[in-house]
């Protein structure tokens, strides 16, 4: 149970959150026309006769969009409706050429499912929690009005008009901003795994309508408001905080929350009323007579299921159970598609370079991909060339480190040069003198010298001052200019000091 509470003058309040996430389906063409969907084209460059709603034009469903929505439904373990239907949602607006949006009200493509958000103590999520998903339906996006092109007129860009969206409607199962944030991140991760949406919130490929109400814990749901088109995880969380606070203050001041649509202003971090239920549209939904019901056959469903990749929860379990990774590392690695792809590439390259099983090198590779490599990459910034960042290079570095040929510090230095220049790690180690000294004889003579120069400390050590061991290691490494193999240095020191 979430312990997130809002402190009011009349006591504690609980917030109840439901999210409607609009996710643009990854597809080359729109939901009902062949026009392209690429982001960033010139206004009205990607508009077919259908998208512009010319007289006599008819929609034809794009099978790829349906396939992606079905796969998404399967990824959240939802019921897939083999019979669904498109409805028209009627309203007038200049960005809506048909005068209606083709959507699915009465018979959505995907029914009930759920997804798991993971425990995150720091964020206030004490344990794993399953969030219910009510439905996923597919619908058309609208175009865009541009108000800044002309002093007295607004322009219309129909590039987005007709683009396929999945509307993913959660149940009102979330109880804190952190849970909502985790839900959006997890959903985005699943969409990216499945490949049905790029999850890019900045470009508008994914946005959320945030439903918020408050109640005294244990009481009935309060009246909810819906804040539209919130386009980042951070803003989703901010909206909930602001809106819940506003509602509590309102109720405690003797007011009533009205069911209404609100907008979030990120600059002022506040929500504003857009329209109330009274002046809400009557959308006059009815089945679209231009389209037949959507009927899916078993072969199609089997193909959809077989095309699903390993999903985040299953992957994480496998990392822990089969690769022996820590829960923490497994969670970090599976959170995003880029993360696990990088890890698995380096893992397979390293295992084969070392001639070991993946399990035997998994922890080493996990540490490398989660902390060492990102540290170097971030420090380099623009100097790092993406094309040089190959799994083979990382594997070669990890192999030298595993063999004791280079130290952790040298590994970072070599990686830095690799990223800048694309040179071979082994050649860098050789040429740049970035190798550890493991020659016992050479190390022995240096140690002898260090011990001779610090005879007093040697006495103290032998007298019981164990802490001084570190001092001898430090002195030796300093004399070796940091290139001594620490394992060898330690061993010889131990032997000599008795």
């Amino acid at each position: 149970m979430s312990s997130y509470r809002i402190q009011g003058v009349t006591g504690e309040w609980e917030v109840v959150i439901g999210l409607e996430v609009h996710a643009q389906v990854t597809s080359n063409a729109k939901l009902f026309s062949g026009a392209s969907t690429e982001f960033g084209a010139e206004p009205n460059a990607q508009v077919s006769l259908v998208d512009a709603a010319m007289p006599g034009m008819l929609p034809v469903p794009n099978r790829e969009c349906i396939r992606q929505a079905v796969r998404t439904g399967m990824a959240i373990e939802a019921q897939i409706n083999k019979w669904s239907r498109f409805d028209r949602k009627n309203y007038f607006y200049a960005d809506l050429p048909q005068g209606y949006q083709i959507s699915q009200l009465y018979h959505p493509l995907v029914g009930e499912g759920s997804l798991l958000i993971e425990a995150d103590e720091k964020a206030g999520i004490p344990e794993d929690k399953r969030i219910g998903i009510e439905r996923i339906h597919v619908e058309q996006d609208a175009g865009k009005l541009m108000h800044d092109q002309h002093p007295t007129m607004s322009y219309v860009d129909l590039n987005r008009s007709g683009v396929a969206l999945m509307e993913i409607v959660s149940k009102p199962d979330m109880r804190s901003p952190a849970e909502a944030g985790a839900y959006v991140r997890k959903l985005r991760s699943i969409l990216r795994y499945v490949g049905s949406c790029d999850g890019n919130m900045e470009q508008g490929s994914m946005r959320a309508d945030v439903n918020v109400s408050v109640r005294k814990p244990g009481e009935e749901f309060g009246t909810r408001t819906e804040t539209k088109n919130v386009n980042s995880v951070r803003f989703v969380m901010a909206v909930i905080e602001q809106e819940a606070r506003r509602q509590v203050d309102l109720i405690e001041d003797g007011g009533k929350v009205v069911q209404e649509t609100r907008l979030y202003d990120p600059d002022r971090n506040e929500t504003r009323s857009m329209r109330s239920k009274e002046d809400a549209h009557d959308y006059r939904y009815f089945p679209d007579p231009d389209l037949l019901p959507l009927e899916l056959d078993d072969d199609f469903l089997v193909q959809c299921r077989e095309s699903l990749p390993e999903l985040p929860d299953a992957k994480k379990r496998r990392y822990v159970e089969e690769l022996g990774l820590s829960e923490y590392n497994a969670t970090q690695l599976t959170a995003e598609v880029e993360g696990f792809r990088r890890f698995e590439d380096v893992l397979s390259a390293t295992a084969s370079a070392l001639g070991k099983g993946e399990k035997d090198v998994a922890t080493q590779v996990a540490n490398w991909t989660l902390s060492v490599a990102p540290g170097v990459l971030n420090a380099l910034g623009d100097e790092a060339k993406v094309e040089n960042n190959t799994a083979a290079a990382s594997a070669a570095i990890l192999k030298m480190q595993d063999a004791g040929e280079i130290s952790g510090g040298q590994a970072k230095e070599i990686y830095e040069i690799v990223l800048k220049t694309g040179r071979e790690p082994a050649e860098i180690a050789e040429t740049e003198g970035l190798k550890q000294l493991s020659d016992t004889g050479a190390i022995e003579s240096v140690i002898d010298e260090v011990l001779a120069n610090n005879a007093d400390k040697v006495e103290e050590y032998r007298g019981g001052k164990d802490k001084l061991f570190g001092f001898f290691v430090g002195q030796t490494m300093k004399a070796l200019q940091g290139k001594g193999n620490p394992a060898v240095v330690n061993q010889i020191l131990k032997d000599k000091l008795g």
Binding site: M54, L58, P289
Partner: protein, 494 residues
Amino acid sequence: MTDLTDLGVKAIRDGVAAGTFSAREVAEAFNANVAAAQDALNAFIVATPEKALEAADAVDAARAKGETLGKMAGVPIGMKDLFATQGVQTTAASHILEGFTPEYESTVSANLWKAGAGMLGKLNLDQFAMGSSNETSYFGNVISPWRKQGSNAALAPGGSSGGSSAAVAARLCPAATGTDTGGSIRQPAAFTGITGIKPTYGRCSRWGIVAFASSLDQAGPMARDVTDCAIMLESMAGFDPKDSTSLDLTVPEWTDGLDPDMSGRRVGIPKEYRMEGTDSDILESWDNGIAWLRDAGAEIVEVSLPHTKYALPAYYIVAPAEASSNLARYDGVRYGLRDLPDGANLQEMYAATRAAGFGDEVKRRIMIGTYVLSAGFYDAYYNQAQRVRTLISQDFKAAFEHCDVILAPTTPTASFPLGENSDDPLAMYLNDVFAVPASLAGLPAMSVPAGLNKDGLPLGLQLIGKAFDEQGVLNAGLAIEQRAGFTARPEKWW
């Protein structure tokens, strides 16, 4: 030499193919008739004589080269102005689309041009195909070429394909396209003594036809006789991937299958169609039809379509509901009329544009449709009407267990004088009472001329077939045609 404009589709096509006359001669003859009748009949919104000649010349050239000619080669036709024609104004007889010139060609018209037909012009119609008398066109009434004996009063050519019916009856074109949502091919065909068939819903692509009610709209041919309709329908029909409701079926060779022998066929006579208020002339022609089909070898059986009386009310809910949504796109934003009063905002622009751009009947149906779909009324009206629609379909299915084709009147009356029903929408809607059930069920239905009434005006008989059985409808129609011996034509006064 016979007047070329007296010839129908088959005669023209065969004559052109045989070299009896050239396609250009045919086109010139019809172009002349179109021009001469325009002021009196107002059948065309736009004449395109150059298009007719261009297509004719192409056919003549192809013939000279010995190429295989299409099914409609050398036949100039009229195109109802509901079909989008590339580079030629397409208005749906509305002010809101006045001047609109599409950059695309409807599938049906493209099919016809591919078959060798040429376009004489865009035919007038009821605005957005809403009407039964062609009095709702922004471009003025179409006048029927027919007149009551001893009267010069202007008569309705029927609607909504009134330009098509008038033009074919007056020999301005040998055939024309029509569209039928709730009788718009059959009723005007009956009023003007010509033949018209609405095929099974989905036979002809709706792509590029200005939509009225999507679940009902269906294109079909209007011509002098059954054979001409069969030939033309073969050219119009076909699966179109651009229309989701298009039937993915091969188009039968209906012309080859024409057979007026009704032996072994059962013809159903629906008892519920004997309605009060039906003209005695109509009932008499129905009895004639029964006798003719019996003579052709058919067995006559009584059938019951018990939900018939609910068809018209259900139709006047479903069709306006769909229309109210289909016509939302005419908003002044992207094309067509825009009325932007000084300082108007978006909502005000919509209101002004649509107030100026739509006629009264269109507005009436948009309001009815908006009302029946609105929250709180949707179940009582739209859903109830859909249930009625299902019952009507089931009625037909049950009736077709006892018969192969149904015979009924096309209309409850013959043509009426213009203006007679224009103040009474309900009386006007009753015109479609016999036509609407087949539309709601998506079945093929045809009107063939059955004779003249006491006033010398044509009457039509309607044949309704099973889904996909256009052949059965055409054959029964042919049997009637051969026995009715309908040769009457309007006396030329224009």
